[in-house]
Symmetry: C2
Subunit: 440 residues, 2 copies
C-alpha cells in the first residue's frame, strides 16, 4: 500500500475520542497517523484511583502501541501539535525528540481534550495541582500519602492539623471521588498504622461555588451523594468561592464573609479550559469558540467551512458533558463520516449522543448513577459502576489486574500503590522553600 494513493487521516490525541476514531478506521482504506504527547492512552475516569493508591499507573495507562498493534494502517507519532495549516492541509508537530515535523492530512480529527481551568489564577496550580494526567496522579498520590507521614512526624498540633486537612476545589465527579477516597484512606485504609497522629482528626473539605455536589446529575442523586459524603466525614462547603490558594491553605468567600482554611494538601478539580491548539484552529478556520475556548462545530462534528476537520470530545463546544462516552461516540462518528465519504456514500445523519448514563463513586460499595430517568445510588450504583468500568477498561490483563486491586482495596482495606518517590518529595520541598523566600 502506498501513502500517495491513500487517503491520509491525522488523529490528534489518543484519549477516548482519538482512540475510538482510530479503531473505527481499522478497515477503512486510509493511512492513519495518531499524534499524542505520551506513549500511553489514559483511562481518565480511574485516574483518581491512581492518586489514592488503589491502582498502579500502568493499569489506567496502557501503551497505545499495544492497543493498536494489530491495526496495520496506523502510525503513532509522539509529540504535540502546535499548529494547523488549513490551506496546505498539514499539522505542525513538535516531536518528542525536539524536531519540528509537518504531517499532511486529507482528513483531520482533533481530539486533544481539555484541561482544568484556574480561571486566570494560574499561580494556584503549584499549590493545588489538578488531576488530568499520569504525572498529576503520581504527584497527588505522593502529596496525599506524604501528608499522613508528615502529620505523624510533627509535634506541633497546629502544624499536624494542617497536614491532616485536605481541600478539594470543585464538587464534580473528580472532586467527589477524591474526597470520598481520602476520607476512606484516613478513616479506614490507614487506620491503626500511625501512632502519633490521630487520623480521626483528618478533615476533608469539598468546596464549590454551586449549591450542590455533582451538579451534572439529577438533583436527588446530588442529595444522596452529599448524604453519603457527610457520613464519610467529608465537609461540603457549597456556595463557597475559593479566592486565594497558597502553600499553607486557601481563602474562601461565602455570602456570610471570608474565611481561611489551613491545609497543606489542595487539589484543583474545577473548570474546563481548552488547550492552546483550539485557539490556533479557531484562528485558522474562523470557527467560533465558547468561553472555555472550545471549538463550535456543526451537526456532523466538522468545523464550519472545513468538512475535512472534525473536532470530537472535550474540545468541542456545546451542551454535551465532558465525559468519556461523548468522546468515544464522537470519535466513532467522525471515522464513520470519513468511511462513507471514501466509499462514495451519502453523509450520515447528524451526530447524536446516546446518553448511556453518568456515574460517580463516593466510596467503596457506594456510587450514584443517572441512567436516563432512572436513579441508582448506594450499593446498586456501585455494582453498576464496577461493571461498566470493568467492561470499558482496555485489555484483558488490565481488567484482571484492576479487579484484583479492587478486591484488595474494597473487600480488604489495602492500598497497594502508596509510593511517594524521593525525587517528588525533594522537588516539593525545594519549591516550598522558594515560595517561602518569595513571600518574605
Amino acid at each position: 500500500m502506498s501513502d500517495q494513493q491513500q487517503h491520509r487521516v491525522v488523529v490528534v490525541g489518543a484519549g477516548f475520542g482519538g482512540l475510538f476514531a482510530t479503531k473505527a478506521l481499522r478497515r477503512v482504506p486510509a493511512s492513519v497517523t495518531v499524534i499524542n504527547g505520551t506513549s500511553y492512552h489514559l483511562f481518565e475516569p480511574l485516574l483518581y484511583q491512581v492518586a489514592t493508591g488503589i491502582l498502579s499507573e500502568g493499569e489506567v495507562a496502557p501503551p497505545i502501541r499495544e492497543i493498536l498493534k494489530r491495526q496495520r494502517n496506523v502510525d503513532l507519532k509522539l509529540g504535540w501539535v502546535t499548529d494547523v495549516d488549513v490551506d496546505e492541509r498539514t499539522v505542525l508537530v513538535s516531536a518528542m525528540n525536539g524536531r519540528e515535523i509537518r504531517i499532511p492530512y486529507d482528513s483531520l480529527i482533533v481530539a486533544a481534550g481539555a484541561r482544568n481551568s484556574y480561571f486566570g489564577n494560574e499561580d494556584f496550580a503549584e499549590f493545588a495541582p489538578s488531576l488530568k494526567n499520569i504525572d498529576d496522579a503520581l504527584e497527588l498520590r505522593s502529596r496525599i500519602f506524604h501528608a499522613f507521614e508528615m502529620a505523624e512526624l510533627e509535634d506541633d498540633p497546629e502544624q499536624r492539623q494542617r497536614w491532616l486537612t485536605f481541600v478539594l476545589i470543585g464538587a464534580g465527579p473528580t472532586g467527589v471521588e477524591m474526597a470520598g477516597q481520602i476520607a476512606e484512606l484516613a478513616h479506614r485504609a490507614l487506620n491503626g498504622q500511625y501512632h502519633h497522629a490521630d487520623l480521626g482528626r483528618t478533615r476533608v473539605i469539598l468546596i464549590d461555588a454551586v449549591d450542590r455536589v455533582l451538579p451534572a446529575f439529577d438533583r436527588p442523586l446530588s442529595v444522596a451523594a452529599l448524604r453519603k459524603l457527610t457520613r464519610l466525614g467529608v465537609e461540603a462547603r457549597l456556595q463557597t468561592r475559593v479566592v486565594d490558594v497558597d502553600a499553607d491553605g486557601v481563602e474562601v468567600r461565602t455570602a456570610a464573609g471570608a474565611e481561611r482554611i489551613e491545609a497543606y494538601t489542595k487539589i484543583w478539580a474545577a473548570g474546563v479550559a481548552a488547550p492552546e491548539l483550539a485557539g490556533r484552529i479557531a484562528a485558522a478556520t474562523g470557527a467560533a469558540t465558547d468561553r472555555a475556548g472550545r471549538i463550535v462545530v456543526g451537526p456532523d462534528l466538522t468545523v464550519p467551512g472545513h468538512p475535512e476537520i472534525f473536532v470530537v470530545g472535550d474540545l468541542a463546544a456545546g451542551d454535551l458533558p465532558g465525559v468519556a462516552q461523548v468522546a468515544m461516540q464522537g470519535g466513532t462518528y467522525a471515522a464513520g463520516v470519513i468511511r462513507r465519504r471514501l466509499a462514495g456514500r451519502p453523509a450520515p445523519k447528524p451526530f447524536h449522543y446516546f446518553d448511556k448514563g453518568n456515574m460517580a463513586t463516593i466510596s467503596r460499595f457506594s456510587a450514584v448513577a443517572n441512567v436516563g430517568k432512572l436513579h441508582f445510588s448506594g450499593l446498586a450504583g456501585w455494582f453498576m459502576w464496577l461493571a461498566v468500568h470493568l467492561f470499558y477498561l482496555i485489555g484483558f490483563k488490565n481488567k484482571v489486574s484492576a479487579l484484583t486491586h479492587w478486591l484488595v482495596s474494597f473487600l480488604g482495606r489495602g492500598r497497594s500503590e502508596r509510593i511517594a518517590t524521593t525525587q517528588q518529595i525533594q522537588a516539593r520541598n525545594a519549591l516550598n522553600r522558594l515560595a517561602a523566600d518569595r513571600s518574605r
Copy 2:
C-alpha cells in the same frame, strides 16, 4: 508500657536486615524505633522487574507501616541517620520534615545497606544510573521505554542505533538480569509494535572487568548463563574495563586496546560502597572498615568494644555475599542476641550464615541457581526462582498481584508497567542540554 523502663532498640534501615530484626523483636520486652528514609520496605531482588515494566513499584515496595501494623512495640520514624553518639548512646536523625532529632538507644542495629560504587567517577552517575532504589527503577524504566520511542522517531540511522544500544556495566545478578530483560523486550515483548525502527537491531552489551558473568556463582553456572545470554542476543564483553561514560556512550579498554561504544542508555551495576554513616560509626567506635567502607564486626555481628551496636547485611564487611538472605539472617540473629541478654541468658553461638543458595534469572523460563554443591539452570532454575521469590515476597496481595503480572509477562508477552512520566523526560532533556553546553 513506659519507655523509661523498657529496653530501647533503634533499628537503622528497613531493608531485609532491619525488617527481619524488627519482626524478630516482636515478643521481646523492648520498644523498637525503626528509622528509614522512605515509608516503604524494598524487595530489592525484584527491582529489575520494575525497571523493565513487569511489576509495578507498589508490588516490590510495600509500606513498612502495613507490614508492621500488628506489632505494637514498633515506632517508625522517617528520616536519615546522620551520626551516632556512642557515648551518649543516641542516633542523630535528619527527619523527613527537615528537623534534627536525637533518639536514644540501649541497643542499636545498623542495617543501612550499601550502594553501587562508581570507583571515584561519581560524574558517571548522571549518564549511567544504578539500580538500588525505587527512584532508580522508575528512572531506568523511563529511559528504557523512552529509548525505543526515540528510535522510532529518529530518521538518522546512526542516531537510531544509539537509541537501540543498551550498555550494562557489571555482570553480577543485576547486570545479567537487566541485560536478559532488555533483550526480551526488544526481541519479544515489543516485537511488532514499531514500524520505523527495526528492534531486531537492538544491541544489549554487558561489560565486566572479570572473565565471566555472575562471578559469585560456581563456574559451570557462569558458563550456562553466558550461553543463554548469547542466545538471547546479549553481547558479553568480559575482561573489559569502562574508562569513561558520557551522554552519548562509553569508552572501554581491553588487553587489545581502547574502543568507544555509542549508546544513549547506560546502566551501572558494578561495585559496592558503604553509605557515609559507616564512616561515622567507624570513626566513633574505632572499628575497622574494608576497602568498600564497610564495617568489620565480631562473630556476634557487634562492633568490637561495643556489644550494644550490631551491624548486619550489606554494611558489614566480610566474605558473605551482599544478598537478601545474609541480611535477613543477620537481622534475626542480632534480635536474638538482644532477646537473650534481656532474658539474662548466655550469649548465643557466633553468627553462622546458612547459605540457602544463590540465584539469578536470565530470561523467562531460564535462571541459574547454586544450592550448596548443586547446580540448576534453565527451566528447573527458573521454577526454583519463581517459588523462592513468591515465598519471600511480603504480603498475600503482593504475591497474588506479582503472580498475575508474571503470567502476563512470561506466558504472554505483555509489559504492564511502561510509563515514562513527562516530568522524567523533561528533566532528562534539560540535563542533556546542560551536559551539551558544558562540553562545548
